[in-house]
């Protein structure tokens, strides 16, 4: 039995003692007086003692018991069954976590435990019971299946959810429409869900470093609204920030602030790997270099963003600092170079491979083998059966997708007169999607196909730039510019994870254990300062693919930074699952009928149970009255 007002028990004990203390301190101090006939008085006292001892004892017991009952009435006891008591103990130790619940996994685990118990005993005689205490959110429970439980299982559902609709506004997502570039205007998008019954004016404040962005917009009820604002990131690198709802007081506060990560990229540096000599003109590598360079005076080479690397010198050190790798006529890549290329792709580098030779097909084949299931190109390049291919036209272009989307329809139309020579033939690979095939030639061979590989992207340009019109075509430079933009942006512009979900992240390729110790810290929402924490933040270890961060159960919601030698080398935001902000509850009928799975299911609300079990005090009140009546009866019978 538990009590609501434990203080009443103490008060009752004091009340029982009070008459004793009052009697002790206020009892009349007898005056002394001689009496010659004291022996008769002694006899009288003894006679009274014998007769009144039982009466006094009964009166004391009844009176004390009545006071005790009165104290218990004020204490408001709640009678709990043995199962409720152990359940209460377990619930007392439970804490809410900002994680998604896998209801079916929990039900399956319960089914396994109950099944083990049933098999150990006579199943017909065993009656199992499963008690579930939850708010029964629709987003969590709508697909639960109780049929996995043993047939004799009695399911008790105790809802702690509110019977009244709960108004809720929550931030579901924060990100940039396009990966931000240092110094350039970027659009920050904040997705807000309004679960209220009416429209709300939502105010959002996004904070990172020393920058603050205020957003405000009227959000219709029952839908998600995206609030946008333009920002300019002044410096590159990894940053963590918070988006917070202002002046929002609802039933769940944890989703009023949302952590996010900003990785502002510098203008991408490009490494051109080619065996062609730098001074060879005209050459494919020359055309590529000229097309990739920004417009500037030839004499100021200090501003060049393209670094030429001989194919034999292709190594990690050589391409350090280059966000985009362009391969053109690289010749045969060594096995180690192929592994390096695969690793760089997985770690977020962009690769533009201009395929024109037989060896390029081989290189790509070996790269595909190295990447395995992480790269499934839509086509496989193959050597041409003839030494020189006839000029081919561009037969199919996905003009609504990058890179062609931004070129404009006129420029795309001008591809019609483009004739291409060289390159390789291709064949479609079975069980692959053509989503990455952006353009084909008139012989149905792939001209341009794009793939996301790990955190990086790769585009294969099937064209021989040594020969043909393409380098001289007006579309060449814009096309390359768009391609470099696509490829220079890492897929890891959205570094986020869900709280409680196992995390595995491949750190950027330039992060290595040899450079120093790596430490993880998380940001404080109030001050946006970094500070260390004592909770577990997973393990960062060196693997064949690079530095991998494993975290079994990420905490949060919060922003997390990985630092090496005091510099932030990586950032991650752990966030609350979206569905947890939707507080709509499942109807009891759905739980007991559609989802019951043939099991006996009972549904009750804790408030009702509490009211039903909250009548124990009535019994004590009646008992107290009866005890007082008994005391009066005893006194009357004894003649007082």
């Amino acid at each position: 039995m538990s009590v609501l007002n434990g203080w009443a028990i103490g008060l009752g004990a004091a009340a029982i003692l009070l008459p004793v203390l009052i009697h002790f301190f206020t009892r009349p101090r007898p005056r002394s007086r001689p009496l010659s006939t004291i022996r008769f008085l002694q006899q009288a006292v003894e006679q009274r003692k014998a007769g009144r001892w039982l009466r006094d004892l009964l009166v004391l017991l009844f009176r004390s018991a009545a006071l005790a009952c009165l104290a218990i009435v004020f204490a408001r006891p709640l009678w709990q069954q043995e199962s409720d008591r152990s359940l209460a103990d377990a619930l007392a130790e439970a804490t809410a976590r900002p994680e998604r619940i896998d209801v079916q996994a929990a039900v399956n685990a319960a089914a396994e435990m109950l099944s083990i118990r049933s098999t150990n005993e006579n199943e017909d005689k065993v009656a199992s019971e499963l008690v579930i205490v939850s708010d029964f959110q629709r987003s969590n429970w709508s697909t639960v299946d109780f049929s996995v439980l043993p047939q004799t299982t009695r399911i008790r559902l105790q809802s702690v959810g509110s019977t009244e609709p709960m108004d809720k506004v929550a931030i579901l997502d924060v990100g940039f429409a396009e990966p931000p570039v240092v110094g350039a205007v970027a659009t920050l998008e904040v997705t807000v869900a309004n679960y209220c019954r009416s429209a709300n004016l939502v105010e959002v404040q996004a904070v990172w470093d020393d920058q603050v962005l205020q957003l405000q917009q009227m959000c219709p009820p029952g839908v998600k609204t995206v609030l946008t604002g333009d920002v300019t990131i002044p410096s590159g690198g990894w940053k963590t920030g918070w988006a917070m709802l202002k002046q929002n007081e609802d039933v769940l506060a944890i989703d009023d602030r949302f952590p996010f990560v900003i990785q502002a990229a510098e203008q991408p540096a490009i490494a051109l790997i080619s065996r062609q000599p730098p001074g060879l003109k005209p050459s494919a590598s020359y055309f590529l270099q000229r097309a990739l360079e920004p417009i500037s005076d030839e004499r100021s080479s200090a501003q060049s963003i393209v670094k030429r690397i001989g194919a034999g010198r292709f190594s990690l050190d050589a391409v350090a600092g280059s966000q985009l790798l362009v391969f053109d006529h690289p010749g045969q890549l060594e096995a180690e170079q192929v592994r390096l290329l695969a690793s760089l792709l997985l770690c977020g580098r962009g690769v533009l491979y201009v395929a024109s030779e037989l060896i390029d097909a081989t290189n790509l084949k070996r790269l595909s083998t190295e990447l395995g299931s992480q790269w499934q190109p839509p086509v496989e390049l193959q050597p041409s059966l003839t030494d020189r291919r006839q000029p081919l036209a561009i037969s199919d272009v996905k003009s609504n997708q990058p890179p062609f989307r931004s070129l404009g329809q006129a420029l795309v139309s001008s591809l019609a007169d483009l004739r291409l020579s060289g390159g390789l033939v291709s064949r479609h690979l079975p069980d692959t999607l053509d989503d990455g095939l952006l353009a084909t030639r008139s012989d149905q061979s792939a001209w341009l196909f794009f793939s996301s590989i790990g955190s990086g992207n790769m585009c294969v340009f099937n064209a021989d730039l040594d020969d043909g019109q393409l380098p001289r075509h007006p579309v060449f430079v814009p096309l390359l510019t768009e391609l470099t933009g696509m490829l220079g942006r890492s897929n890891r512009n959205r570094e986020d994870a869900l709280c409680g979900e196992p995390l595995t992240r491949l750190l950027p390729a330039d992060v290595s254990a040899s450079s120093g110790d790596l430490t993880v810290s998380h940001a404080d929402v109030r001050s946006n300062e970094q500070h260390d924490q004592t909770e577990s933040t997973g393990v960062i270890r060196q693997t064949g693919d690079g530095m991998v961060w494993n975290w079994d159960r990420p905490g949060g919601p919060s922003g997390w930074t990985v630092k090496q030698n005091g510099q932030t080398v990586y950032a991650l935001a752990t966030q609350l699952p979206d569905e947890e902000s939707d507080l709509r509850l499942l109807d009891a009928d759905v739980m007991t009928d559609r989802l019951a799975g043939g099991r006996r299911v009972s549904f009750s609300r804790v408030a009702e149970v509490k009211a039903r079990k909250d009548d124990v005090w009535n019994h004590f009140a009646i008992a107290g009255l009866l005890l007082l009546l008994a005391e009066i009866l005893v006194l009357q019978r004894s003649g007082m």
Binding site: R27, R33, I38, F40, A44, V45
Partner: protein, 305 residues
């Protein structure tokens, strides 16, 4: 203590006793006296009132032979005449500690039982001496603490009254020892006036002495002194009652035990009365609430009727 001016006992109130100046202490029983007096003697003599005939035995005085009866009947009979003699009274005062109860009480005046007895005995000795009778004194404590053989001279009376005035109550009375001492010292039979509250742990030795004196032909009168505060407990919330003869103390609320106490006390009074009567005593219950003069007057009247 005697009045230093008049050398008179403080318990001798002559003004009050003037009311009883014509009263005499009498007895209905035949007594043995020392001298001729107005009381009927136990013995028969040649003078006095004709009392009875007795058959003549050889050797008796022929002058007492009733010749007329002999002539008429032919048998020899002696005339017997009742002698009158004086009264010998010996008051016995119980000087136990319980007799000191009642001093300063609002009930029963301000006299303790002992003071009441002292007034009674002093007055009685005065009246008896004025009646040409003799009065003695015995004071019982752990033994016979004080004894005056009966006398009637003024000096004797004065000494006796002085001794009465100086009585101090002690713890308990050893009735057996006291009776034994008195029995050894008492002379002629007379009247034994036992003045006590009869609050003894064991009444047997007390009445054993009474019966002894009754057996010896003494007239025993028991004056049972009772204080009103003994009959009814004082009203109060609580009292710490202290025993006067070492019985301990009792803390109680009188209202809770009054009925039982009064019943126990009444039962004791009945027992004392019953024992007194069965021992052949004259028993009189005296409440100290009644003025001693009135008690004495009633007592003397009762004895003359």
């Amino acid at each position: 203590m005697a009045n230093p001016v008049t050398n008179r006992s403080p318990f001798l109130d002559l003004c009050a006793l003037a009311v009883l100046q014509n009263m005499r202490f009498s007895t209905h029983h035949r007594i043995d006296g020392s001298y001729s007096g107005r009381h009927v003697s136990r013995s028969f003599g040649g003078s006095g009132e004709f009392a009875d005939y007795r058959q003549y035995t050889p050797g008796e005085d022929l002058r007492r032979l009733d010749w007329r009866v002999m002539a008429r009947t032919g048998r020899a009979y002696i005339k017997m005449f009742q002698n009158e003699t004086n009264l010998v009274c010996t008051p016995v005062i119980d000087a136990s500690r319980s007799m000191h109860f009642g001093a300063g009480s609002e009930n029963g005046g301000s006299l303790s039982k002992l003071q009441y007895a002292q007034y009674l005995v002093t007055a009685l000795s005065h009246i008896i001496s004025h009646g040409r009778d003799q009065v003695g004194l015995a004071v019982f404590k752990r033994k016979l603490a004080e004894y005056f053989s009966p006398g009637s001279t003024p000096d004797h009376i004065a000494s006796l009254q002085s001794a009465v005035a100086e009585i101090v109550a002690e713890s308990q009375v050893d009735w057996q020892s006291s009776w034994s001492g008195l029995f050894q010292r008492a002379g002629r039979r007379g009247v034994l006036l036992l003045i006590s509250d009869f609050l003894a742990d064991d009444l047997k030795p007390l009445f054993a002495g009474v019966r002894l004196f009754r057996h010896r032909g003494w007239e025993v009168v028991s004056l049972h002194l009772i204080h009103p505060d003994e009959e009814r407990l004082p009203a109060a919330t609580a009292w710490q009652f202290e025993g006067m003869e070492g019985e301990g103390s009792v803390h109680c609320s009188p209202s809770e035990v009054r009925d039982a106490y009064e019943a126990n006390f009444a039962r004791h009074l009945d027992i004392v009365r019953s024992l007194s009567l069965s021992a052949g005593c004259d028993y009189r219950r005296v409440s100290t609430a009644v003025p001693w003069l009135q008690t004495l007057g009633d007592f003397l009247v009762e004895r003359t009727v």
